[in-house]
């Protein structure tokens, strides 16, 4: 609650800057239009023009707001012109990719923690894998998976997984290794089996780390899903929307798709935080 006022202040400041930039960036076009029409513009005419261009370089916040309102509240959610519809499609792909990412990430993390060979041989390559530009290989993944008769949504999921498994691996490796030597020694004094040590000590100890990386991972998943939709635009989704907007220079549409994606990401992060709170409290780890 304490942070409402500061957030509002910051948001207000951002809007002010945004409006200022909208005027600055859109002004040249307003002037050149006027010039070609042999008119001269007063300052206020120029400003009002920059607030209402069809394809502004930077749309004014209210233009984006109107667009978002028109494409959410005023459209049936099943309509292809509804952002909710596209958001839902992206959300599905994100969820699938995120599920894949968690699965792969945890399996790799367990393998790395329990096998020195895996640790030494795979870890450097996992880091290298993240330096491969995903947008470059996404279309190739799509083609190869399509050749293997894999569903489009699964292909999207795979691309989204590529980005989200990394934070999960890193976080889980840290988490599974977080119990200190004393606790591990203690397990040894009970002569506990490796699987008992895993279920009773390592896994619960990794919970806070898991949640921290899930929050990073879900945002990465979303980015992956959006990237995948640039290559798989036939099914719609926020990425397809972004692409179409770019193709026709519809900046207002680009920005509204962007904001929708960011909102989606924020909602998912928020949801995970909520689950985290409940889980950690149940586990007694939140004080």
């Amino acid at each position: 609650m304490k942070s409402i006022l500061p957030i509002l202040t910051v948001v207000a400041a951002i809007f002010a800057i945004w409006y200022a930039f909208a005027v600055i960036l859109n002004a040249p076009w307003a002037y050149s239009k006027a010039e070609r029409a042999d008119k001269t513009l007063s300052f206020s005419e120029m400003v009002s023009d920059t607030m209402a261009q069809d394809k502004p370089l930077l749309p004014a916040p209210h233009q984006v707001a109107v667009e978002i309102w028109k494409t959410t509240a005023l459209k049936n959610v099943t309509s292809k012109r509804s952002l909710v519809y596209h958001g839902w499609i992206t959300l599905q792909a994100t969820a699938l990719g995120f599920a894949f990412g968690i699965g792969l990430g945890i399996i790799l993390a367990v393998a790395i923690v329990y096998s020195r060979v895996m640790d030494m041989s795979v870890m450097p390559w996992i880091i290298a894998s993240q330096t491969v530009p995903i947008l470059a290989i996404a279309p190739m993944i799509v083609v190869v998976l399509a050749a293997m008769q894999v569903d489009d949504i699964v292909a999207k999921g795979v691309i989204s997984m590529y980005l989200s498994f990394f934070p999960v691996v890193v976080g889980m490796v840290k988490g599974l290794r977080s119990p200190d030597t004393m606790l591990l020694d203690q397990m040894k004094t009970y002569s506990a089996s490796p699987s008992q040590a895993f279920w009773k000590l390592r896994l619960p100890a990794s919970a806070p780390y898991l949640f921290a990386s899930l929050k990073v991972g879900v945002a990465a998943s979303l980015i992956g899903a959006v990237v995948a939709e640039l290559s798989l635009s036939q099914n719609g989704g926020l990425g397809a929307r972004l692409l179409a907007g770019s193709y026709y220079g519809q900046t207002i549409q680009i920005w509204s798709a962007l904001l929708a994606a960011a909102t989606l990401a924020a909602l998912m992060v928020f949801a995970i935080s909520a689950i985290e709170k409940v889980t950690l409290r149940r586990m007694g780890m939140a004080q």
Partner: protein
């Protein structure tokens, strides 16, 4: 019904109206075909999709199809619904350009991703280098839209008569502000939007038969679209998954497209084919294709389909 998957070259728009019309009007169904139309996008290479088995038929531009053949992918043109090229270079008058001879020293926007071949041939025929030297032109890889022209980052950009040109107009520039150079008029036109399949599939009689029916139905779709442009545009909009296309733009596009398909029955004009090959081979030191292609087209399908 027999399944056919068609991979388009670009996103859903009136450029592909014939196929969507054939689909919606049941022309494919009449031929006992069950057709799936997959839209493309900026990073979907139809040739790659067909190589991977993701499609049975693809739409491609001939320069890129012939280049793919040289990479060892045996694409064969079985039909050519587009008779005329819609590609052009659109320039701003205020840059002082009046003819191709003024290009030297200017920045030109070009589409890559396999769409650059006609442009490169043209420039090499004019003796203009494209690597940024003073005696040539500076090439910029144009993104998805017409911004480089509007913002003066480029003197000219690539446009299609049916699409980007109108986006420039919509943005507020008038025909008087612009100079256009159609590849068709410059004598460097190459064939666009042809129907291609893999040679090894074509050798299978059952597949050939499918293609005969597919081409027949598709051409029926095209002719219907030419005759009913507004209805065709509506059908396209119905099929646009992104929900971002506008009616005004698609209707206009359909009318422009109709001009390009008007002269075609679907049969590839051998004369146009040879002109395309000749243009591509004239690429100077770096021709798009190095040897005259063999077996890059066949009339076998259209002969049966259009009889």
């Amino acid at each position: 019904a027999d399944d056919v998957t068609l991979q388009l070259k670009w996103v859903t728009q009136a450029q592909f109206a014939g196929y969507y019309v054939a689909q919606e009007k049941g022309f494919y169904g009449d031929e006992d075909l069950n057709v799936t139309i997959k839209p493309g996008g900026p990073d979907v290479a139809p040739a790659q999709v067909i190589a991977g088995g993701g499609a049975d038929v693809v739409l491609d531009w001939m320069p890129s199809a012939l280049a793919s053949r040289e990479k060892g992918l045996n694409l064969v043109n079985i039909a050519q619904p587009f008779a005329t090229s819609g590609m052009m270079l659109t320039c701003r008058k205020d840059t002082g350009i009046t003819g191709p001879e003024d290009f030297a020293g200017k920045t030109l926007g070009v589409w890559f991703f396999g769409n650059e071949y006609p442009f490169l041939s043209w420039m090499s025929q004019m003796g203009l280098s494209t690597d940024g030297g003073d005696d040539g032109v500076t090439v910029l890889k144009q993104g998805f839209n017409v911004d480089p022209l509007l913002q003066g980052q480029a003197a000219c950009i690539s446009t299609m008569t049916y699409n980007e040109y109108w986006q420039v107009i919509d943005a507020g520039l008038t025909e008087d502000d612009l100079v256009t150079f159609k590849y068709e008029d410059m004598g460097v036109a190459t064939l666009e939007d042809g129907i291609y399949v893999l040679q090894e599939n074509l050798d299978d009689p059952a597949f050939s038969d499918k293609m005969v029916r597919f081409v027949r139905a598709s051409m029926k779709g095209w002719k219907y679209a030419e005759a009913n442009p507004d209805e065709a545009a509506d059908i396209v909009l119905e099929n646009d998954a992104s929900g971002a296309q506008t009616e005004k733009h698609q209707q206009r596009m359909m009318r422009e497209i109709a001009k390009l398909t008007a002269g075609s029955t679907g049969e590839l004009s051998v004369e146009d084919y040879e002109r395309t090959v000749e243009t591509l081979m004239k690429g100077g030191s770096d021709p798009v294709i190095t040897a005259t292609p063999e077996g890059a087209w066949t009339h076998a399908i259209t002969d049966l389909a259009l009889k």
